[in-house]
Symmetry: C3
Subunit: 324 residues, 3 copies
């Protein structure tokens, strides 16, 4: 679990972080400047130590509100645990659309204006892309996007994905294969935005043609001169990738019935990967990630889940410190 | 945001609060004597300061149980935040009718007897009028009614409504227009009981005839000599009211299809109100409160929501202090 | 409420508890050795005092995760309150099968591996017998079975049942009548395993023939030489029992329409019980336990619920202390 800092950036050199680089809300992963990202990762390293010591009570006056319009026990638990390890308290709903028993479908704006009186930071999961931005637009307290729509973003997932890589590898010059339903993959989308911030990164987008990464991301990469390839054959690129970012692929979305198998990882594919490749998956998995992979030392997806705690703790402290 | 004490009551003069005026449970708003109400409001002022300081740990040994038979994220979050700001802990369910996976529909009495072992105060939302009283009848610890049935009460909402007015205006001599579905409006019902305690109050009940305030409330007002008028035309009274208490009006309950518009607030109606009128709404809103009203300085409904936190904190301390 | 130690075991004599008798997970009640059981009950007595003092902050760094695949407000609240009275924090879901909004039915193993990063102890309620064991098999942190399947176990319920008896009576030589749907009664099953650890216990299993206790339990008792009788007539044994352990009996499962009445407790049956009998019921009740019984001094079922808090607090400290 060696850590490495690819960039010349030195954590102690605070002069490199401009005073103005403050974060009010986290809605999209590309909001992060590189210095801000490095500040977050430094805080995250610190949080690993805080958790090892049993947590802190520093934020015991703070309340996090989870306003989820769709259930996601995993993400909710992670944010709640992060707040608890910081000493804070938590309000949670996973059925925010039943915000009131009297009026169905109250608008997110009214809900946010009210909850802002009861908490210090709000985490929103919304079924529509743009839902988190609507929340942020009216919120006097920080809002964190915990996923908005299939074509939206899930920036904290991308941050923990990137942190997991950062703990193991230089981020510059990295070669990343993203596999799965990329058209609706908000974690893959968010991660692509972040990778684009690092020099000489190369991304392989591997998906059936009808599920390939959408043009908005490709345009973004083009503008920044980030190298990428669109692939439909996993085996053609798997040996070149430093990082395999496998995402779910639902059988019903693949026309060819054998297709799913071809866009997943099993023991046969393991043999063709680099000996020091990193295998990531945002989880939960369906059929695209065989359980036989779990024992492989290159499989990092459960460590990814652990890193989610540290990254979210760091993000919460950043937002609470900068906005109080 | 000037505060005023209409009544001659002085908070420091404890001798005016009879020793017997203790509150075990809060089931109906009319339980409050005037001195008790003033004690609550003094505590509430104190809670504004406690929250500004970041809360207290004074009640860190106390547990609040939210036993909701119907979901209401808003009310639940408010009570939970109130308990957290006091330092306490929270148990919550919004599907209390699924109290056990084995036996559907366990009676509220058995649930209360059990939960009383696990908590220090219980907040009940029940679908039937009288449900909260049934809970209180068997509970060894304080029970708070958070809404029971469409024709029941919602006393803490009325308390926060009244506190919001109290922070702005003398309560004696007040003229209040209540607009909306008054027959099923438990917040309007609870507020009417409270207003009846103050001298020279006048209430305009404005609703389509079939949705007018029910006789039990009117009888109560008659007995106490409280002046009121039944109106079906908003414009006839809007210019006279110090407080506009707008409540929801569901289109499907109004026979005349243009009716809803006539029982709501929009910018045209704003022009006819007193220049220092107070516009309240218990929220959530449907179509009866146009978003254009939000920017008007007379709109107090989001401050109402904030006051809900302080009032419920005060109520919790009152019940916990008097019953431990 | 006199307490008695039937066995010669002395709480202060730690030498009698072998160093190896550690509990990593609690999946089945028979895991408990007698010394371990007595250690648990000593801790439980201590927890009665801790709660009377208002709780402790000793475990304020610890997080309990409730992973319920079926709702059970009662059991969930009890575990949550136990953790709060110890100073800890709580993560909870009652719809763990909707663990993710994207992938329905994630396997319990993956969920556990992830949640283990966010908490210090996991309480699982699973719809299938064996579900808790599957969770424990992959968990790096303690797992507690809070009920798994109709034919599975519910060991913490049995522990609190036994503790309730232990506070009142010697456990050796005890005569216990278990009444109800015994074939699917996981609390009765778990309790039978525990009773088998004490000398000269006798159990009457009272149920309609088609709902009688299953052979696996009877075989277990036979092996240990525990006396038992299978009965279908409550009145035949009710006068002999020191403890009446009544469990639910759903009318739809009894062929004879008058049957339910014959397997429940009402005031007529009260007259035939021993004058110092103990009446227990795991609750919730359906029709098999008349409300008229509540006032009888022999009715202990609400005290049982209170004891659930103390027993679960003790169990949590035991698992957290032995595995940190």
């Amino acid at each position: 679990m060696a850590s490495s800092n690819v960039t010349a950036w030195k954590p102690a050199d605070a002069s490199r972080v401009p005073e103005t680089s403050k974060l009010k809300h986290l809605i999209e992963s590309q909001q992060f400047t590189l210095p801000l990202l490095m500040e977050l990762f430094q805080r995250t390293r610190g949080m690993e130590r805080v958790v090892a010591r049993g947590g802190t009570l520093e934020y015991q006056n703070k309340i996090l509100a989870n306003l989820f319009y769709q259930p996601s026990t995993r993400t909710r638990f992670c944010f709640e645990s992060a707040m608890y390890r910081l000493g804070g308290k938590v309000l949670s709903t996973e059925q925010a659309s039943a915000f009131s028993s009297e009026v169905a479908g109250e608008q997110v704006e009214d809900s946010i204006r009210i909850i802002a009186n009861y908490s210090d930071v709000i985490v929103v999961r919304h079924p529509q892309a743009g839902g988190a931005q609507r929340a942020a637009d009216v919120s006097p307290i920080p809002v964190i996007n915990a996923g908005d729509g299939e074509g939206g973003q899930h920036p904290t997932q991308a941050l923990l994905d990137l942190y997991t890589i950062y703990r193991e590898r230089p981020l510059t010059g990295l070669s990343v294969a993203m596999i799965g339903e990329l058209d609706r993959g908000r974690t893959a989308r968010s991660l692509a935005y972040l990778l684009a911030k690092f020099d000489r990164v190369k991304i392989f987008f591997v998906a059936p043609q009808e599920l390939q990464m959408k043009p908005d991301i490709l345009d973004y990469l083009d503008e920044r001169g980030v190298r990428y390839e669109l692939e439909s054959d996993v085996e053609a690129v798997i040996g070149e990738a430093d990082v395999i970012y496998q995402t779910r692929i639902r059988p019903e979305r693949v026309s060819d019935t054998h297709g799913v198998k071809r866009y997943g990882i099993d023991s046969a594919l393991l043999a063709k990967m680099k000996s020091d490749a990193l295998i990531l998956h945002p989880l939960p998995r369906t059929v695209e990630l065989d359980k036989s992979v779990d024992q492989d030392p290159r499989a990092l997806y459960f460590r990814q889940a652990a890193n989610g705690l540290y990254v979210r703790m760091a993000l919460l402290t950043m937002l609470l410190d900068q906005n109080s």
